[in-house]
């Protein structure tokens, strides 16, 4: 469920089909994802899941799976 939501958000940001996004999709320039897009993703995820993502943790987000796991971990701590 988390993944679907994150994929949807990301798809909207970079304007592609959310079916083209997988857990392995890398959050880098190669995939057409710019730094400001990552920032947008962070902001939207915080809104959608009602959490706070610490900025210094963002450098660990190499691919979509990393964000999904991060969110899962926060939710598990509740």
């Amino acid at each position: 469920m988390i993944f679907q939501n994150v994929a949807k958000i990301l798809a909207e940001i970079i304007d592609i089909d959310d079916e083209d996004i997988t857990l392995e999709t890398e959050l880098t320039n190669e995939f057409g994802i710019k730094a400001v897009d990552v920032a947008k993703l962070v902001i939207e995820c915080e809104k959608k899941f009602k959490i706070t993502i610490q900025d210094e943790d963002v450098h660990n987000f190499r691919c979509v799976n990393d964000i999904v796991e991060y969110i899962e971990r926060i939710q598990a701590d509740w």
Binding site: A35, V36, A39, D55
Partner: protein, 747 residues
């Protein structure tokens, strides 16, 4: 020994009966499994035909009743599938039974009825379905436990109804292979060592029986002990030490099974992967699961999280094959120093000193404000709870700093938004761009913080060796070995390579374990270590850090060292390091696996005054043969192999000093004879002709051994003497040595 004809007949008949019953049950089981398989297929078919729903539709409320209908079909299918699996398991078990249905028998006389029951014990039970007679009892069943726990005489076992008392009149053991009764014998004590069993079956004298039982009792004390926290065993070559190690692991597992511990609680530290395969072949005998076995290198690779670590075999190869005496000597001294308790102490002092001297704190600024000062951070760390690991304390520090940053985040974001607004015209992107800036600066900041909150063990280790004066200051009060400066320089050079030397890897692992928590092995309760003489104090410190709560069984032979000399003080040392409440040292000094002649010959290579206790069988005297040149040597070797084959020896080992030598010999003769070169990971059943370097042959045994390079160039030093001892004692029945050039002065 009641191996008389009447008994023999009786046992043979009994065996045939048992096997027939097993075969009957096997055919029936095969038939049933075929039927079940057919039933499953037809059920699945039915399910397909009658319930053609798309799965995704089933989860909505309207389709709920269809889901129920589907499950009506699915349940019988899954039920049938698990029944089928059970049949398959039964079939495998029955096939095993037909091969070897049982291995022991006790005659138990019940106290209350005076009836005597013949209890045959095997790996699983076998009941005659018509007469209801138990033909074979499972070794784990209560009545079977009497075999393990008692000798002849008074005994009891715990049944669901209560304690059943009685007497054991007979204890008999069988060797049954491929449905044939090879031999059997009666013994008060369970004889688990195959050699001892053969000895008994060949030589039935009361004297032999006493000796064998004594050896077995000595072994049993070690195998069955559950009280001692540290059991140390000094076992000379041929004393069955390795067999004891394996059986102890199996016994602990058996105990674990009855105490409902999982097999995951036991770990065997093997010297090499060949040994591991050996274990894997022996232990499954005892049940379905295997005991976890590991080589020390795996521990190193796992903790350092890299594959670029020199293995111990590579270290040995470097040590033994080096032509440059000075270099070989340096390698040896470096290992010896780094493995020593002295160096462990230096490392401990180094770790204590890290917060003082080697962690470079820096001032931390955020949002233009000075939020953490170097001085205060350092003081905080130094004041922290010394009992907790350094990494944890540093993590705590990091969390503290981050907290301060998070508190100021909101303010910072405000400032960034204003800044962005001033810079850009796109007002709708302000939030994203501001956030992007915040993320960027946070990443830079966290990297700066982690420069001192995350330990770079490799860098620290390198620094230790780059500062000679500091190094010496840490060694205050200790006497450092001669040539320590060479060792330090040598280490610095090695640290520049793209792989870690074995001795440096050990030190790094120690550093890591002493500063960071490592939880993977927390649950281990029993550790069995063989060939302990090859390990240094540093190894044991590492094991102690990894398995602090465990009981240990440590086996070794101080005479079988490679590249070092050891005496009994080895056991004192490791006793001190592991520091367990109850420890004991047992000696296995009766050699019986090799022939008398081989044992006597091997003692040439030990220090005078070593008492040999052999009463083994007799065999050929080992012979030393000279060859004119390499091709002459090859011919001699091949001829000897042929002779061995004619004598029906299953495993023949050609032992060379180094892997290099082994490879070149292999290349020369591989086309002339069917032979395998043993390098690290080869599938082993040890039947055939093999070439192997000495240091890899430890703990292994061959029916016949040929030592291929017994010349002065190869074997001339004190350390080499030990290598010859190891090589010679790998032979069970036949030993021959060959050389070209000058014969070794040691022979």
């Amino acid at each position: 020994m009641e191996n008389n004809l009447v008994d023999r007949d009786f046992e043979e008949n009994r065996l045939q009966q048992t096997i027939s019953i097993a075969q009957e049950q096997l055919s029936a089981a095969r038939l049933r499994s075929q039927k079940k398989e057919a039933a499953i297929i037809s059920l699945k078919q039915e399910m397909l035909e009658e319930t053609s729903y798309s799965i995704s539709n089933l989860w909505s409320m309207e389709n709920f009743h269809q889901l129920v209908e589907l499950s009506q079909h699915a349940n019988p299918v899954s039920h049938k599938v698990s029944e089928y699996e059970m049949e398959i398991n039964k079939i495998l078990l029955l096939e095993k039974m037909i091969n070897s249905p049982y291995f022991a028998r006790i005659d138990f006389k019940f106290d209350d009825t005076n009836a005597v029951r013949k209890v045959y014990i095997g790996l699983s039970s076998l009941k005659d379905n018509q007469t209801r007679e138990m033909y074979v009892y499972d070794w784990r069943s209560p009545i079977a436990s009497v075999f393990y726990r008692f000798g002849t005489g008074k005994a009891f076992f715990e049944a669901p109804a209560g304690k059943i008392k009685g007497e054991v009149n007979l204890k008999r053991q069988y060797e049954i292979r491929k449905g044939k009764l090879e031999y059997f014998f009666d013994a008060d004590v369970q004889i688990i060592d195959e050699f001892l069993r053969q000895l008994l079956s060949q030589n039935a004298s009361p004297k032999m029986k006493t000796i064998v039982e004594t050896i077995q009792k000595d072994q049993d004390i070690i195998i069955r002990d559950m009280e001692t926290d540290l059991m140390m065993v000094q076992g000379s070559a041929g004393s069955g030490k390795t067999s004891v190690a394996l059986h102890r692991a199996a016994y602990l597992m058996y105990q674990g099974l009855s105490a409902r511990l999982s097999y995951d609680d036991i770990i065997v530290v093997s010297p090499n992967t060949l040994f591991e395969r050996y274990i894997a072949n022996v232990l499954p005998e005892l049940g379905e699961k295997n005991v976890k076995s590991i080589i020390f290198e795996e521990i190193l690779r796992m903790i350092l999280q890299t594959e670029h670590v020199q293995t111990r075999n590579q270290f040995f190869e470097g040590l033994l094959s080096s032509n440059d005496k000075k270099y070989g000597n340096l390698l040896k001294r470096s290992m010896q120093f780094k493995g020593s308790s002295q160096f462990v102490e230096i490392l401990k002092r180094f770790i204590n000193d890290l917060p003082n001297r080697w962690i470079e704190f820096s001032d931390i600024y955020y949002d233009g404000k000075h939020i953490a000062s170097r001085q205060l951070l350092k003081t905080k760390l130094l004041k922290g709870n010394k009992a907790s690991l350094l990494s944890s304390r540093l993590e705590q520090l990091e969390d503290n700093i981050l907290e301060l940053i998070h508190e100021r985040r909101k303010q910072r974001m405000e400032k960034l938004r204003i800044h962005v607004l001033e810079q850009t015209a796109h007002t709708f992107e302000v939030e994203e761009v501001a956030r992007m800036l915040s993320i960027h600066e946070s990443i830079t900041l966290i990297k700066k913080i982690r420069k001192f909150t995350r330990l770079d063990h490799f860098e620290l280790y390198r620094k230790l060796f780059s500062n000679k004066n500091y190094f010496y200051s840490l060694a205050k009060g200790m006497e450092l070995p001669n040539g320590i400066e060479d060792i330090i320089d040598f280490t610095c050079e090695n640290l520049k390579k793209d792989y870690l030397s074995y001795d440096d890897a050990l030190a790094l692992v120690f550093l890591q374990l002493k500063t960071k928590r490592y939880n993977d092995y927390k649950g281990i309760k029993q550790v069995v270590i063989d060939e302990a003489q090859d390990y240094y104090p540093l190894h044991f410190e590492i094991l102690n850090s990894l398995f602090p709560q465990s009981q240990y069984t440590v086996l070794g032979d101080i005479n079988q060292t490679i590249g070092k000399q050891e005496d009994l003080s080895l056991y004192d040392q490791l006793n001190k390091i592991l520091d367990k409440p109850k420890s004991t040292l047992v000696t296995l000094d009766k050699s019986f696996r090799c022939t008398n002649e081989i044992l006597i010959y091997s003692t040439k290579f030990l220090d005078p005054g070593f008492k040999l206790n052999s009463f083994s069988r007799n065999g050929d005297t080992p012979a030393v043969s000279a060859a004119q040149n390499k091709s002459d040597l090859d011919n001699l070797l091949i001829t000897e192999c042929m002779t061995c084959k004619e004598r029906n020896y299953q495993s023949i080992g050609l032992i060379c000093k180094t892997e290099q030598d082994a490879i070149s010999l292999y290349e020369r003769i591989k086309d002339k004879i069917d032979i395998r070169l043993i390098m690290n990971d080869v599938g082993i059943n040890l039947s055939g002709v093999f070439i192997i370097p000495v240091y890899m042959s430890k703990g292994l045994e061959f029916d016949a051994v040929l030592i291929c390079d017994a010349d002065g160039d190869h074997y001339n030093s004190e350390d080499d003497k030990k290598l010859l001892y190891i090589a010679c004692t790998r032979a069970l029945h036949r030993l021959n040595l060959f050389y070209t050039g000058e014969i070794s002065p040691l022979l």
